[in-house]
Amino acid sequence: MLKVKSVHTYYGNIHALKGVSLHVRPGETVALIGANGAGKSTIVNTICGQIKPLKGRIEFQGQPIEGLAPEEIVRRGIALVPEGRQIFATLTVESNLEMGGFVHRNNHRQVREDMTRMYDRFPILRQRSRQLAGTLSGGEQQMLAISRALMSRPQLLVLDEPSMGLAPLIVREIFSIIEELRREGRTILLIEQNARAALQIADRGYVLETGKVVLQGEGNTLLEHREVQRAYLGKGAGQIVDA
């Protein structure tokens, strides 16, 4: 469904992605893990059109999408739950959802239905529908951000660090939501620092280190991989024989 081929991206003069390739197949949950600064968010921003890749290709459902404007990419069916949630804090919860369905704005009925569906999924949002989104708690904001992304009826849902800045208990809740989405058969690209939680629910995973994929494979097998720890804690965590 999504194919990223040898993408190189620069942030100013930082070579942030050094030839990253990855793909997501329909119905799959793919986790992208790595420490801070490994380039996870850069990948997301590149896929979602906020940064143009210097080299390489990105294909979505067979169509090249690199270099398209973010709003066009949303229209093509990729929805992002951005890092730090990025909800519209000064808009009501309901308006946030409505904005999520912006690409379907002419189909009023569908937007209403989807909104009802989101409220059914997250009853807490229904309770808060008239509140300003900025007044929600972190976990509720994350739910709102996820719902907002789902409102565009995406073929691919990209979640960027959904656990960031949330308390462990809430993190568990968020991951159970993602798990649920996965079971519904949605295609998900999950970017996480929280490797364990992410790999537990992912079909496949990629481990990113300094802008490169150093490991990829099935979620549960990566989970026990020492190299994963190494990616987070540095060389000491897995001394290599010839090092």
Binding site: T90, E98, M99, V103
Partner: protein, 300 residues
Amino acid sequence: MTEHTLAMDILQYTISGLTVGVIYAMVALGYNIIYNVTEIINFAQGEFVMLGGLFAAFFVGTFGMPIHFAFFSAVFTTACVGLIMERFVIRRARNTGVLSLIIITIAISIMLKGSAMLWWGKDPYSLPPFSSGGPIMIGGAALQPQALWIFGVSALVVLLLTLFFRRSVYGKAMLACADNPGAARMVGIPVRQMVLLSFILSAAIGAAAGVVITPISMMEYDRGAMLGLKGFGAAVLGGLGQFFGALVAGAILGLAESFCAGYLSSGYKDAVALVLLLLALFFKPEGIFGSGEAAKLKKF
């Protein structure tokens, strides 16, 4: 002076203060709309008001249009000016930095002013009031029927704006752009078009204000700067980006001005609004109704 006339005076000043205050508020709305979406302060905002008034006078005077029709034509024409300004100048200069943007909008403002002078000359133009009839006397104070029109039109504008931003998808999308342009793009909102829309909208609102005050105060080519400055005062005082705040702040400015003119010196009435603006900038740049928290995060 007796108590009676003092009360009458106060009433009179209040009425005329509110009348101009509402106009300032409408200019402030224009600032707010553009600022909301782009974080740009459009120094040419006042010129939209001037253009509105002069276009209307032109349509009435030259084409003999009925006043109501001229109103809409003037609003439409000015909106086109806003469109051209955004599309051909601002959009190209978006990334040049704050200093350049300030200078560019100032440049546009003096170009508009210069063009207006060339076109209409330096004479003030007037418009017939929207409805005929003498002033209405209320408790000894005179109320021009046109003032009612001013209140009416601004009430309508505020109402429509409120509806637009509360109800319509595009209005909310504009708010979303203001709130978080990055996230707005990520949900598929075409931010550029929203910016364009904001310029069109604020030009239209400015023009509407210009048309409705022209019957009372006339309009000439160089009124824009002062109206713009005072409108900005109202916008800052009310909290940049706050529609309701702008309305209240506009009224405060208008009243302050009117009472100053009445009791101190009419020459300094313009300065009063500016002093209030400076005080607001120095001591409460987030405005009366703006939240301190939010203001901290914005770029000044």
